[in-house]
Structures are given as C-alpha cells and as structure tokens.
Symmetry: C2
C-alpha cells in the first residue's frame, strides 16, 4: 500500500488537530473540519490504512487516532509550514553585555524557554580546534604560580600551580617567553604530550620546575574541553498533560539535571556545525527517559571549530513550527554576536 496524496492530507489533518487539542482525533472530526468532501466512513477506511502504515495509532480500540513517532517524522519532514522569522524574538539588551560567555548562554536559553514554554539546554563550546593565544605564568608566592591561558574568542582559563622549589621573577619571565614562543598559535589538540616532551628535552634549564609547570598546563588544557551544560525552564515540562504521569515527568527532569546523561542525549548526532536544526522525535532519542519527548538541536559557532549546541526539549505533541522558529532565531543571533566579537579579536591580532 502506498501513501497517496489523500492519505497525506488526512494525516496532516489528524496531526494538526491533535497538536491543537491533545485529544485523539476521530474520523468524524476530520470529515467535518476539512473541505475534502468525503464522509467519515471513507476517512475511517483511510485511517485504517494509515494505521497499517504505522503513521498513527489508537490508544485503545474505539478511540480516535494519535500520530505515531513515524507520523510526526513525516509531518516534520514534509508537512510542517516553515514560518518566517519576521520578529526578532530576542531583545538586544540581553545579548550585548557579554562579560562572561556562560552568563550569556544562560540568558539566551532562559529567554528561549520563556518564549517557547519548553525546556531548553545549551552546551558551552568545545575548544579542541581553537588556537591558543597566550600563556602567562604569574608568581603568587615562592612556591605558587597561576597559569593564565587565553584562547581564541578571548576565553581566559587559569590554574593554580604549586611548585616544589622556589623560583624568582626572572626565571618566571624566562619560562613565560619560552612557553609563548613554542606554544602560541597552536590549536589545543596540537599541544599534546609528545610536543611537551620534546619541549622539555629541547631546553635544559630548570627541568623539575618546567615539569610541574608543563604538567599543569597540560591538565588545564585537557580540562578546558570539558563541556558545560546549562538548562532552563525545566519546570515547563510539568505543564503538559502528556506528562501528567509523575513518573515520566520525574525521569525527564532527572535527565535534565544529570548533565552527563543530557550530554549523551544532545551529542548523539555529529557535533559538526550545521545551519540546520535537528529534530529527534520520541524513540529516535537515544536516552530512554526522553522517548516521550522531542528534542530540537541547533549548533552555534564561536570561531573556527568552536562549536556548541543549543536545544529545546518538549513533549512529542509540541508546537514544532514555533519551536523551530525560536531556535533558529536564537542560533542566528548567537552566531551574529559571536562573529562580531570574533571580528574584533581578529582585527586586534594583526
């Protein structure tokens, strides 16, 4: 049996109606509220076919039909209207005070959650491809240093280093020069143990001290591609009758709280930058607790290879059009901000 045009029309009518009311939709409703000019009996026949195709299901005999995951998939891929992004959803003022990138990300997803009434999530960007801009050791006391590491996008990391032997300002300065000479401009993946080893051998001075310093830098670099996840609007989940079963709601909220599970959920697909929005519906999600949800993700870009993810999580019976438009809006504006930011940085580097 094939999915002819009339069946598609009926499927669309079912999904539209279900998205609106949340009630299983019956044949009579469709025949009445669409202008297809066919009777409910005919629609019943077609619905039986659609069910056989796996696109709709009956919660129980003698109830109306509800879209299946597969049905939603067809809706999302082929039937959904792409609304235009006319009105800027985000107020500028939220986005201009970029003193700290994490705060900015949190503000954005909070706004996104408020606008959509779904839960939202964002990951900090991954730094692996980013170039190191500057390293500086600062002497705090005789046996304590701070390593300040600046990477592309002007993100600053620091790490306390406890050293075993005393060191004077002059030596610190020498090491600073050495490090900057050898390491700046490299991407973080290039600064691997091998390179550091050769650096250790290459210069014979203060081997022990250099050891601790380099180890600490290594550690900092490794720890800096730990992704942070922030969520917002988690309580929105409880607003939807789809999750009136508390246990389901708890599973979902728990997943939102446990960042490692959440990360698994977000990053199952490739983390390549893409202009498209990815939608995973129900059992398309890898995490079991989320198989009653739909997850929309987009990527944002903060310089070369510096990619993060932003997403919306809601019930499968979600207003996909609204969610998509809001997410695109967010992605678009984030890229705009970060690109402006980057342009300044690049200009500065000349």
């Amino acid at each position: 049996m094939e999915l002819d045009e009339r069946k598609v029309k009926i499927l669309q009518a079912i999904i539209n109606n279900y998205l609106e009311t949340g009630e299983p939709v019956g044949s009579r409703t469709i025949s009445k509220y669409t202008d297809m000019g066919i009777s409910s009996a005919t629609i019943r026949n077609e619905m039986a076919d659609l069910e056989e195709l796996g696109l709709i299901v009956q919660p129980h005999t003698s109830s109306g039909r509800v879209p299946s995951d597969k049905g939603y998939r067809i809706y999302v891929d082929r039937l959904m209207k792409e609304s235009k992004m006319d009105d800027p959803v985000f107020k500028e003022d939220l986005l201009t005070k970029v003193d700290k990138i994490d705060t900015l990300l949190q503000n954005i997803i909070k706004k996104l959650a408020n606008n959509t009434n779904y839960a939202t999530v964002v990951s900090t960007p991954q730094y692996q491809q980013t170039k190191l801009k500057h390293i500086k050791l600062i002497k705090l006391s005789e046996v304590k240093l701070v390593a300040v590491i600046v990477i592309e996008g002007d993100i600053v990391k620091n790490h306390i280093i406890n050293i075993t032997e005393e060191i004077d300002e002059e030596r610190v300065e020498k090491i600073n020069n050495l490090l900057n000479l050898n390491l700046t401009g490299l991407s973080l993946v290039d600064i691997n143990l091998a390179l550091i080893q050769s650096l250790k051998e290459q210069v014979g001075i203060y081997p022990d001290l250099l050891n601790s310093v380099l180890d600490a830098i290594c550690e900092t670099i490794q720890s800096s591609d730990e992704i942070q996840l922030y969520t917002s609007g988690a309580t929105n989940i409880l607003k939807y009758p789809d999750f009136s079963d508390i246990d389901k709601a708890v599973d979902i909220l728990y997943t939102l709280e446990e960042k490692n599970i959440l990360q698994e959920l977000l990053l199952t697909t490739d983390t390549q930058y893409s202009k498209d929005i990815k939608i995973r519906i129900g059992n398309e999600n890898s995490v079991e607790a989320m198989q009653e949800c739909s997850v929309l993700t987009a990527t944002y870009k903060l310089g070369d290879g510096l990619v993060g993810t932003i997403g919306i999580i809601g019930p499968k019976r979600m207003n996909y059009e609204k969610a998509v438009v809001n997410l695109k809006q967010a992605m678009f504006q984030m890229n705009e901000i970060f690109n402006n930011q980057l342009q300044i940085t690049i200009k500065d580097n000349k």
Copy 2:
C-alpha cells in the same frame, strides 16, 4: 492551659508517627504504640488540648491529627534527638580535587542530595571581606589586556580590558607594579571608588589608560561579589506525596530554578557565620511557594569574612535528624577542606 509533660510526650508520639507514616495519626494508634498506659479516650482529650494550643491540626473532622508548623517547631527545638556524626558521609575523593571551587561546591550538594533525598542548594562565598592577593595585567594585543585578580583562598578572576591607545610591555609592567604596591592586601570593600580616584591623581602617568584599567578592575571587583547559587536533587521533591499536588510541586521547582527568588529564601536570615544550623519550617519561610517546605541552612567559611550558605530543602514532613546530621557533616567537612587550603596559603605568604 499549659503544655505539661504528658502532652509533650503525646505530641512527640504524634510527630514521630506522622514522620514515619505520612498518615494523620489517631488516638488509638498512640495509645497502642506507646507505653504510657492511658486509653485512647484520654489521649483524645489531650489531643483536643494540643489542637487548642495550635500544635496539631485535623485535615478534616473525623480524621487523625497532623503536626502544625508550630508543632514541628517544638519538635525541632526540644524533642528531636541529636544523632551523633559517627560515619563520615562524604567520600574523601570527592573533596580533594579542588581545581575549581564551583565544581567542588556542586559535587558536595550533589552528594548531599543523594544522601538525604531532598533538594540541596549552595551559594558561592561572598567576597566582600576578602583580601586582594595579587593583580596582574597581561598584554594580549596592542589594544587588549587581561586583568588577572587573585584573592584570598586563591580564587582567580579575570577580566578582558579593551583599551583605546596602544601600550608597550614596559608600561604594562609599570602599571602592574603600581597596582600591586597600592592595592594588594586590601579587602575588596576598601578598594572603593574614592581610593581609586586618589590613585589616579597621585600618579600622573598615562592617565587615560590608567582610567580604563582601573575602571575595569573596579567592575571586576564589583561583579565578583555576585553570589552564584547551585542546586541539586530538585527532582527529589517530586518523590514526596506531600507534593502530589502538581501545582505545589511546580511552584517549588520553579523557585529552585529562579536563583533570585531562591537567594531571597536563603538569605533572609543574617549571613553571619555560625556553627548552628538554621531551620525554617513552613510559613516561617519568606517565600510563599516554599511555605509547604522546611529549609535547613548552614554557613561555611572560606577565610576571614568569606562566608557561604549550604542548605537542604524538603517537605515539612522531613527526617529532620537525618537532614541535620548530613548538613552538619557537609558543613564540617567543607570548613576542614577550606581551612587546610587556607593554612597553605597563609604559610605561603610569609
């Protein structure tokens, strides 16, 4: 009417029973399961008195009694057993890797939430009284500097400064010396606009540049006493039948998500360091959504005047003994870690 010893005993029995079962407790239960040797009828009389005193309430006529907020208060103040802190609740390994204080705090409340099955919250310490240990400007490019600010407890903050005129390394070094000479050792409240003004006048060199730098430092300092709040185990709230009314649960979870409301809830009492645990029960809480909850808070200390708050949030029908013991444990161990940390720091400074 006064609260004689027998009434207290009955109150205790009611509360113990209610904490255990969650069901309103009747006179017959009390007479059976205590060794007071009085009949249910007598207990009924006493219960009527306790009700008149406002210590217990009936959810409806012909049901058993439930403790009122006032009843819990007496329980907490006078009747509750102080269990000893025998077993160390926190694994050492969680607490040793202190590379970043925020991560440490998050680990602690996560553990605390797991141990107690309640929601937990922690505030980052307030820095107002802390002494500045070190300031260093690092030149990133011709028009961009990073200000690295180290305060007591080896907490490092940084701030990007965009400057209008170019500057060479030598000048940066001079400003560094100037800043350290004049500002280190002062507490953050001492570094006010007045002092900075006088500093600006005192030294005539590069006034414009110094302006931007000092402004940025000022801003950093001001922003560094913004309190961050972290929560954990929020979903635990949904486990308790006390919040089976979804709307109540939503209110509570929402409060946990909205950090500014949460802060109001935590910090209504003085933020002075204290060895005691504060307990606020039901309507003793300032935030309306939380008047079905009990909130336990403790303070931890990270150096002179560097005080933060850690707390447990659960239903009024909470296992107070367990919560108190866990919170004390957490407070104790945090203070231990931070004190060790501090001792090293202080030793280093000599």
